[in-house]
């Protein structure tokens, strides 16, 4: 037991080093110094308290979208619509933050709840269609992404446009999430994301609710036989997944951008798939996976400036690290399955 725990911790670290090693070959081919590059990449994320704060800021949306996907995977549903749910949550919060007048504490709370509900309602539709009409949630969520992307784009260019650029009115000061480390951009949203990860961990490990979600994901037929209302669980987990993605957008707007831009998300919803996979659908693992991803992303500017490495090469290295981590996960799964079969054969 302990050994496999250790392995599940060491495997990703080993694979990160593999990724870095292959990346070093790429850098050498392009005539850049790998040590210099990696130094600045990690310095940009961990080199000073300020950089760490920036890195944690950047991990916040990734934690939440990672959790959104993980919840779906646990219940056996694939919510590719997280990006759309995030945008929806973001624009609803941006609207409430800018146009409603509420007291200091209440304002962000209401805005986050509304943003999460917006995301959840977008998650509800594919869940409901899957249960009632047997439609594949993957197709519906992909299509609903377009709906959300173009609808929010329409809003930000049309009715909600403020000034001459495609962006909404800045949110009021009362709606802003407070900065938790002075002189940085790290806001309360990060703590909130951590709390939610722990709550989800507790739900999955310690409650009947969490257990029934996992059971449905593992084997819906057996769960039904065992007396679980499978339909309810699927709809609920899509609601929860959409709500978390909506919250990610909402927190990004209230904590970081302070207004909605059409392109504020570089695809956090899709990154969530990667984060959930690397974190093995474990809420705590998701937090670490998000921090890993944020680590290799935050230093990119510094790498370009100090090591003179171009953006494309930085991208290649990032992709390599993630690829190796993902491969190690697959490898390990197969490895384990092999072992189980072997034991069965012996017995």
């Amino acid at each position: 037991m302990d050994k496999s725990r250790l392995r599940s911790f060491l495997a990703p670290i080993a694979s990160i080093f593999f990724g870095l090693a292959v990346g070093a070959v790429f850098l050498l081919i392009t005539g850049k110094n790998p040590i210099d590059t990696y130094f600045w990449m990690f310095y940009g994320a961990w080199g000073s308290p300020k950089f760490v704060a920036e890195m944690l800021t950047r991990s916040t949306p990734l934690i939440l979208t990672g959790l959104a996907l993980a919840v779906g995977f646990k219940a056996g549903v694939f919510n590719i619509g997280a990006e759309g749910q995030l945008l929806f949550g973001g624009i609803v919060s941006a609207y409430i933050g800018a146009y409603w007048h509420l007291p200091v504490f209440l304002h962000p709370v209401i805005a986050i709840i509304a943003g999460s509900l917006a995301g959840a309602s977008l998650g509800f539709i594919p869940g409901w269609l899957k249960v009632k009409k047997g439609l594949n949630e993957v197709v519906i969520t992909i299509l609903m992404n377009y709906l959300a992307i173009y609808f929010t784009n329409y809003l930000v260019r049309g009715p909600l446009k403020y000034g001459y650029l495609p962006r909404t009115k800045p949110i009021l000061d009362t709606a802003k999430l407070p900065i938790i480390v002075n002189g940085t951009r790290l806001h309360l949203g990060f703590i909130l994301a951590l709390i939610i990860a722990f709550v989800l961990y507790f739900i999955f490990e310690r409650t009947v609710w969490g257990y029934s979600i996992k059971a449905v994901g593992f084997n819906p037929h057996a769960s039904r036989y065992g007396g679980i209302d499978v339909n309810k669980v699927i709809v609920f987990s899509m609601l929860l997944s959409g709500g978390l993605a909506g919250m990610a957008g909402s927190i990004e707007i209230l904590g970081l951008h302070h207004r909605f831009y059409g392109q504020f998300s570089p695809g956090y919803g899709f990154d969530g798939i990667m984060v959930a996979l690397i974190g093995r659908n474990n809420p705590i693992g998701v937090v670490f996976a998000a921090i890993l991803l944020a680590t290799i992303r935050t230093g990119s500017g510094l790498v370009q400036l100090r090591a003179g490495v171009s953006k494309e090469i930085v991208w290649v290295i990032q992709a390599l690290i993630i690829l190796f981590v993902a491969v190690s996960y697959i490898y390990e799964r197969f490895f384990r399955f092999g072992k189980i079969n072997l034991q069965k054969g012996e017995g």
């Binding site: 800021t57 500017g301 370009q304 953006k311």
Partner: protein, 346 residues
């Protein structure tokens, strides 16, 4: 003795300050270098300044919107004497950092930041749009032309509206009835969608499509080439795209009639020149045809498709805009509705 050392030190320090070559950092938006358009053009201007003035320059390409603030801040902290920011989406971040570091100097390309330490370079795109529209209306064989824009933002709108005003001008003065089809991609980086929109416009009978910005242009150029290769042998009409921002004629030689160049390279070069000469000043710089900040490409591959007569008219038109004979070219769609093209004898 101590005094001598002290004086020597002062001399050393001051000479260091004066001998230090200016250091310029460019921060791109998420489109980045390699767009064969805006970012590349600015970078080319900086490279020219590197050659001419011996300055040093570096570039940071932003991966996502959340990168803008840290990238600009790192640029300031690296001791840059001038920070060049490109793209309208980065504007708010430039304003924030420029206020935070009032001693740093910035050049904002294509947007206005109302801070003393920022030189905002904005263009009167409607002027070059007007010239392009007039050329296109004179050259078209089908009597229909197109426009595929990136995003409907003010600089793009000025291009579009100027273009349509130029067509309107030709329709009035040359007794033509050229129609224009308008489409928008909704982003600057969606090459496949831009290509299919351009294809649609060619299929609807347009023979020249203006590619309004960003990486989209690459898709529109391909559409022009593929459509021509398929239908030119049948109907004998060559389909063209119009390049934008810098001379893009070489990308699909012979299928890009001309490029409506916004010389951001000239603009950034002149800002760096001011910096080197110690004359750099913040404020708004409105740049137009005058001073060659806007111009048509030399049509290296497409000269044979444009009669000398037409080129003469275009040259004359350009002079008239520069000298203010033709003025009040519309900047917005509302102004376009009210625009009455002046009667001109050619």
């Amino acid at each position: 003795m101590k005094k001598v050392v002290f004086l020597f030190l002062i001399l050393l320090i001051t000479s260091c300050i004066f001998a230090k070559t200016p250091f310029v950092v460019m921060v791109t938006d998420t489109a980045g270098l390699g767009d064969k358009s805006f970012n590349d053009s600015v970078w080319a201007g900086i490279q020219k300044a590197v050659k001419d003035f011996g300055i040093t320059a570096k570039v940071i390409q932003s991966m996502e919107m959340a990168d803008y603030i840290p990238n600009l801040e790192e640029a300031v902290k690296s001791g840059a004497d001038l920070i060049v920011a490109v793209g309208f989406l980065i504007r708010d971040s430039v304003e924030e950092i420029a206020k935070k570091y009032p001693n740093a100097k910035f050049v904002m390309i294509d947007a206005v930041v109302p801070t003393d330490n920022v030189a905002s370079m904005v263009f009167r795109e409607q002027e070059i749009g007007f010239i392009t529209g007039a050329l296109v209306a004179l050259v078209t064989k089908t009597g229909k032309v197109g426009w595929v824009g990136g995003m409907f933002i003010p600089p793009v709108e000025r291009f579009e509206v100027g273009y349509r005003a130029g067509i309107k001008f030709v329709n009035e003065n040359f007794n033509k009835n050229v129609e224009v089809l308008i489409a928008y991609v909704g982003s600057f980086e969606n090459v496949p969608k831009a290509k299919s929109l351009a294809f649609q416009q060619f299929a609807q009978g347009a023979d020249i499509v203006f590619a309004g910005g960003g990486k989209n242009t690459l898709g529109i150029f391909e559409a022009a080439k593929e459509y021509s290769q398929k239908y030119e042998p049948k109907d004998g009409i060559r389909r063209f795209a119009i390049g934008v921002d810098q001379d893009q004629d070489w990308i699909q030689p012979g299928y890009i009639l001309t490029s409506a160049m916004k010389r951001v390279d000239v603009a950034v070069y002149s800002a760096i020149k001011d910096l080197v000469e110690g004359k750099f000043k913040g404020g708004i710089y409105s740049l137009g045809l005058k001073g060659n900040y806007l111009s048509l490409s030399p049509m290296k591959y497409t000269k044979q498709f444009v009669p000398e007569e037409t080129l003469k008219i275009i040259r004359k038109l350009r002079e008239m805009v520069e000298n203010g004979v033709i003025k009040d070219i519309p900047k917005t769609r509302d102004e376009l509705k009210k625009f009455k093209p002046p009667k001109v004898e050619f």
